[in-house]
Symmetry: D2
Subunit: 297 residues, 4 copies
């Protein structure tokens, strides 16, 4: 068995592009972190050190900034689409491209009840994401968010679980449930109202977390995901990844104090990690839409 | 010159205490990170290994959790005060104590226009802080915040500065100004309406950042600090620390594009670090109020 | 198209297990971070909230600690194998398991030229990893490392690359090349001398980085990977992920100083991200060996 | 009481300067993170927005890179000294300066038993530091290290401590002791053999940690500090800051297993934080040597 070059890809990671729209007195702000990743006919670059087909990652970076001017960054999905399409269409050696974008959201400053024209505070409650994969004429768009930190102080239980010789956990019918949610939803087709959908899906996720009486984080995730698919017919699949950020009831009985779910220690590690998807029976081909550049090696 | 024990202190750092108030259907949530630090008659522990006067850091931890039940955590300043007072008054070997608290703020989930009784999303726009120092009968309270990220897309200039042989920076009369603000304000006395003051001072800082035409970050900080002292007579001094998070205009002329302040690269390092205080002429003695446990060694 | 449960998995992440072997005066230390991930017949847990087939993540945590006593942690691959095999064989509802381990390496303290029996300093130059996947009777073992930071101050060039309208990078025949390497190698079969192979492969990677004249990071990675496959016949494939940590020559000509590759600015972001594999023509089926729990959603 | 400008300072933080010495085939590498901080006659910059006395932080950055060429970075203390002296002597408005440097240490790659001329792996076991304060003609030099992670698996106890109503910790005569040490030592005068002293002091700290039977971390720190002062007469004072990184014996009795100090959970938070200094009776004036720019606000 000879030794051969296996899967390979390359790009520029974490370009911190900030775009101001300032043709009106009321400015607009887009603050993104964009990463590109290309694959194709790059064997010679690896095996022979021949760079003649390699578009430098520095050029990819320049393109991200230039496209922020030429095409704007109104919706991160559209920005990623034009970048991905460009690399595949305009660079002969490129067979496929993935463009991933994180968007940091900002709130306009309010002074004396009026929104300020050109000042913002950075919101910290979730990062909006888009990951676009382009291969030849095909394209997959996955929108999402991460670091949406949620907590409910009741309405959560965990009981009736499987027990073996290493099980010591006590059943509970009232606990704190907390997570830092990552959600990614895959679209059928393009041209959707990305921004409205982002807000709508974020709200569904939060509402379902709050309103579903949880018998386990698995069940909560399923109800969140199902509700999104019910509300958005163009969403083909949604994947949710949720660390179970454990809050342990602190033992105060040792000090003569009772503690009926009032004082907790929020632990860092280890944490449960619950991951589940809701999809459609007989739905569209996901292709490589879910693959992440960070998951390669 | 003989070798002697120098300054020393010890405590438990980063107790992650979460307190739920649940005697009503509408729960309340306090989420804090509390650190204790004690000093006093502890020479024997160092020099002779004699622990008989040492209150274990494990006990200090237990006390933080027990006091969350016994005294609650309505305002972080009050919680830190009762903890600090306890260590100094009730432990004979303790001469002084500092208790530092970070509070993570949460927004109540809204479902169908109604605030949810027991579900929250974690806000990410700033962490509220309190640092209380107790020595004998004296006490100093310093309130504050950190990670308040601010950006204005115009209304900022930097020109007329000193130039030497290493100066290459071009003067500008229109730039992006961005920072991640740390603010700490020292109170005269105690018993203030801590929560209302926190909201009010945060708002003043944000408004002044937005409204002051900035000729330098130094000037902006001074105007922010001065406005807080003018509005809150019980605030003796305010200290502001502001990294200048540089946004560089990206050179698009190389691609035949103009860039009149529209596309920027947000750089990570290095950053300017501007620090300034506003205080009162002939004001109260700050004592050791500003000293931080993290600044010891 | 009905809405159905899609892929799902769950486990306990980041159990910080430390194992001391102390039956001799000279102790041994193993310091690991272990994560478990299970999948199988868990539809009812999601859809109906029925936990009767769910082994709690708390139990998985207990098992990691108990197995550290019962089986030891001599080699992280063996430790992961017995854990993975246990979950699949002993828990009826589990179809597959992945166990991932990071090992933090320590150097024994040397006092007066003699190795100390029970004191260590933590080495920081790379973290050793193992990822074991068990499905029914099949098993895949992937060993590796991450955070191996490498730099060469010459012997690296980048020239002859593709240029388009966004290309401004100048060609260079002498540059600093630096990366923080992640490497993962998939084994055929089990029972290998894991520890010796780890040391040997780490050394090959470092030597190839140093000795290969680099015409691009792609070429360097290929030469590193190829050399590993040549030396270790039981390694089926190796995947390398390498951020190109850019070191920019600082422009000192503005101050009347020349700078022939002597003073650099080490930039944080963006960075190139180069990823490549060396594999065997007609080699073994990788199955799901490369899939990472963190890459799920 | 009028509102006045209080303490203020400014500078450029975290310049990532890499210096290659390449006039011989065997290159040398210095990899540092340097921060500058100036104070003096800057009232007008704050109060009136007048920048005419302000040396831009961009200029300070340029100076750090230019001095790496002009003066080299053989020893970080000398590099910081020439920078600090320059700002105070050559910029009229500057009364004082602090220059702080972190140095990341690298090991030369060894190929076939020979050290490579121009390739390194980054060592991770501690970061070397220097902090120089210059005021007029006076100067203070503080050398140090941080992130030196130490663990001993026996030879440590904690017993005989003070108990109150919140004490639940059990006494132990055999425990794991682990910390991530920060040490900073203040010199009398300048012109010392900085590099040899760094290696020597690091070795003393490690040896004392290993060899002293610990009755508490306080005692261990004192013995470490005392030994440094005994060995280095020019060291005026040493300050040690040591998080007690708790390793808890895991309760395996629940699974029918005994655990005589063999399996531990390494916890993240909270941690003890023990800080102590060894100094000389009647020693030199520390001035503002210990003050850190990061401890300002």
């Amino acid at each position: 068995m000879g030794i051969v070059l296996g899967p390979n890809q390359y790009g520029k990671a974490e370009c911190r592009v900030v775009r101001i729209v300032r043709d009106q007195p009321r400015h607009e702000l887009r603050d993104v972190n964009v990463s590109t990743c290309l694959w194709g006919d790059f064997d010679a670059a690896h095996v022979a050190g021949d760079q003649s087909r390699v578009l430098p990652t520095d050029t990819q970076k320049n393109t991200c900034y230039a496209y922020a001017k030429e095409h704007g960054i109104d919706q991160v999905e559209e920005y990623a689409l034009v970048l991905g399409r460009h690399f595949v269409d305009d660079v002969e050696s490129v067979a496929g491209a993935r463009v991933e974008v994180e968007e940091y959201l900002w709130d306009r400053v309010v002074v004396d009840g009026r929104e300020h024209d050109y000042s913002w505070t950075r919101r910290g409650d979730a990062v909006r994401t888009a990951a676009v994969t382009v291969i030849g004429d095909a394209v997959w768009v996955v929108s999402g968010l991460h670091d949406l930190v949620l907590l409910k102080s009741t309405g959560s239980e965990f009981a009736g679980f499987l027990k073996d010789q290493y099980t010591t956990l006590e059943e509970t019918h009232d606990r704190v449930l907390a997570t830092s949610l990552t959600a990614r939803w895959r679209w059928d087709g393009t041209g959707h109202d990305w921004g409205a959908a982002y807000s709508g899906i974020r709200q569904i996720l939060v509402e379902r977390f709050a309103d579903v009486h949880s018998r386990a984080l698995q069940q909560t995730l399923w109800e969140m995901g199902r509700a999104v698919l019910e509300a958005y017919g163009a969403v083909a699949e949604i994947r949710l990844s949720a660390p179970n950020k454990h809050h342990f009831v602190y033992d105060l009985a040792r000090f003569g104090l009772d503690n009926p779910g009032e004082v907790f220690h929020a632990d860092d590690r280890p944490y449960g990690l619950i991951q589940a998807a809701a999809t459609r029976d007989g739905g569209s081909d996901p292709g490589p839409a879910w693959e992440l550049s960070t998951g390669f090696a």
